[in-house]
Symmetry: C2
Subunit: 496 residues, 2 copies
Amino acid sequence: MRDNLIRNFVKTQKPSEEIMKSSIAAERQKLAAFQMKIKEAKLPVMVIFEGWGAAGKGSVSREVIKDIDPRFFQVATMDAEPTPEEKRKPFLYRYLVELPEAGKFKFFDTCWMEEVTDGVLNGSLSQKDYRKKVNSIVTTERQLTDNGYLVMKFFFQISKKEQKKRLDALMKNKNTSWRVDDEDLWENKHYDKCLDVYEQYLSDTNRPRAPWYIIDAKDRKWAVLQVLQYLNQGIDTALKNHSLAVPILQNTFPLEPIPLLKDLDLDKTIEPEEYKSELKRLQSELSALHYELYRKKIPVVIAYEGMDAAGKGGNIKRITRALDPRGYIVHPIASPEPHEKARFFLWRFWNRLPKTGHIAIFDRTWYGRVMVERLEGFCSENDWQRAYNEINEFEKELTDWGAVVLKFWVQIDSDTQLARFTDRQNTPEKQWKITEEDWRNRDKWDLYENAINEMLKKTNTGYAPWHILESVDKKYARIKALKIVTAALREACDKA
Amino acid sequence: MRDNLIRNFVKTQKPSEEIMKSSIAAERQKLAAFQMKIKEAKLPVMVIFEGWGAAGKGSVSREVIKDIDPRFFQVATMDAEPTPEEKRKPFLYRYLVELPEAGKFKFFDTCWMEEVTDGVLNGSLSQKDYRKKVNSIVTTERQLTDNGYLVMKFFFQISKKEQKKRLDALMKNKNTSWRVDDEDLWENKHYDKCLDVYEQYLSDTNRPRAPWYIIDAKDRKWAVLQVLQYLNQGIDTALKNHSLAVPILQNTFPLEPIPLLKDLDLDKTIEPEEYKSELKRLQSELSALHYELYRKKIPVVIAYEGMDAAGKGGNIKRITRALDPRGYIVHPIASPEPHEKARFFLWRFWNRLPKTGHIAIFDRTWYGRVMVERLEGFCSENDWQRAYNEINEFEKELTDWGAVVLKFWVQIDSDTQLARFTDRQNTPEKQWKITEEDWRNRDKWDLYENAINEMLKKTNTGYAPWHILESVDKKYARIKALKIVTAALREACDKA
């Protein structure tokens, strides 16, 4: 079942030049007035232009933004084909890093549509992969609108004849002939085939909260007016819905059972001799695996979360010592900076993804959303309740991309934490490691334990499960982590 | 691509009896407190229970509603199979007439899911018809949530073994054995096959604004608690989103061009002699057609809209005089009554649909939404802007069902209206036909003309086009209407 958005699109009678001129002026004024309201409401606006080659996306967008203060918008011009560097990131990466921040516009001169429809048309994308990418796009657009983004999608429509006329005119002129490439000519020659693929994509991605708007692009001024009208209408609606509550979806991902923190056996230890020999053996294995996964271009994401003073830092160190520094990076995650806070909460993690063959280790992660942000009220209840699903979707994107995703929960009991805090306090060279905040968090141990249990339960997916590191004996925890990492990388390398 | 909502559903550890008891009490209190807020916010709540036979939908719903004031809720128990009478209405009809009104709950003990999945399982529903029905359901649920309804959908899950155990127990007892029917036994025997069909349906209809919640129904009390928790969560979210603005979708239906009112040629006339003979001829043809469409079970919906004093009443009379009174009904549509106003604006028209073989004539229609309701501010701008699409969807449902949908716009010019108003004023037996409101509306002629032009343009679909009746010469308009009606019915009868 397919909606025919383009074929059923009915052109409105173009107004007279005079009316058009005054209407454009009026819409421009409206847009300019909205600018400050968008800023006040911290509304991020993502405007996507797609459409036929030579349909005038570029020139129309230039007209649309003309009166917006340059401090409030950016234009992202995306190539249909990712660069070799970009190909080493997940498909969505190069678009998502361009996300606008709260209160600002970002205009995308083609976005994720073109890459996908091109793939279908040139045969590089199977039907199954097409479905998967469409699914990723629909999910992402839903995540963005759920998180308060206004997403406006425009498709610039011209007829085969009109496109031919434009391409001919461009080619005739020495100064513009470079703007016509083989793809444009191919598209015009196979107009009906392309139209079918575009219709299918538009129908597959047309959602009530991120709908498509077809723009009659035959006349440039008229196209500008249509875009301005839809844009103002969309902004008006979005401003009325400021700080929307979103229904909380039930999990649909495969989840594995996981014990409650209180039921963990934290007494596990390792003998010093065994520790030494195992450490050596495992680090040397990991070192070899690192080269193998580099050659096989497998991306790896290792996420560390745990109680304060549980020994995350030392644990990470035992991993990284085995790695070639050119092939890994550790991201210590603190509270978000202003430019990060102004975007969708997963943005700063999308932004820090490794490329294929590389390892990214996160010392604290996106799970902050459902722990500290939840308990300290840094986000709304609706936000953190929604986040379990958003996180599962995020990690699904990563594993679908081919990444090995390892999540460690480093656990100690309350008495051990107290002992380590006291030791840090009393040892001058460790005092930097302990802050007033650590003590405040410690007072909320029970609240945290409760939130962590909920988090572990709701995000322990089959494709990205949690691994508990019992870390009262830090050495035990380190060996366990190394074993899990090497086993997982070995498996991934063998399969690749 | 399918989400496995049931297979990936993870049971939460059932709390202890004691905790469960206090939690249920707490959720009950919450629900009771919400009751008044729901009333104040005029939130209509539609709760749908679906699931396996003997999963306890009935007993759980009884527990859930126990503390709700009976004035605030109703239960609709729907059979999987429509009655012969219901089969003569569109598929969605018997559910939609049950819609809750603003500020109240309606619990559906099975809704449109069961009819559809049964159809797939017993082979009466082709894949194509399944897609069509799923599409109708998704569209309807979206229309409802767009119009402020909270739609909560629960699927009661038990294992094959548990179901078998329950059915056996029911059958063993003379007092309960009647509750087990062949379908239940068949379902249990073909559990995996049924599960696949249910999974597909849940995945196809799981939408961010009307999501599914799987309920672990093995333990009754625990099921009650789960439903109460989700319900309270959903209500909480919906109350926060009071009077939401919804993005306005661009048309995706096939639209035909239609002239502006000012460009109509209203001078068309008919000679008295021709009128007489044509009237006789056409009415006798219509009379014959009425019997034919009755036998062929074709439903007919005729919608009249037009300027005040344009002659709608007389026009309708010329149609109905040819009809058998047992086979048609005229619905004069005035402003909605309180119980109609308390529901989705299309509800009162769903409620007045003819059965197959019958004709329903609407003297004024659902188009009031985009004329009088728009211009008099009886609904929000967001409401009437959204309504063009909602109306096109509604009429698509009707034509897909097999109905002939005829829409007449009866037009006169402003001078003719003035003359007729004055005549009414000055003729004692016609004075009832003219009110102060008519004069007030007349003052807004230009506003109405503008709104009508927009309406005609946006709803002139290929499957349910407008027909203009130029009615300065009322006789001309009557003959034109009769010709259109007879031609359309002739075509439908010939095809049937």
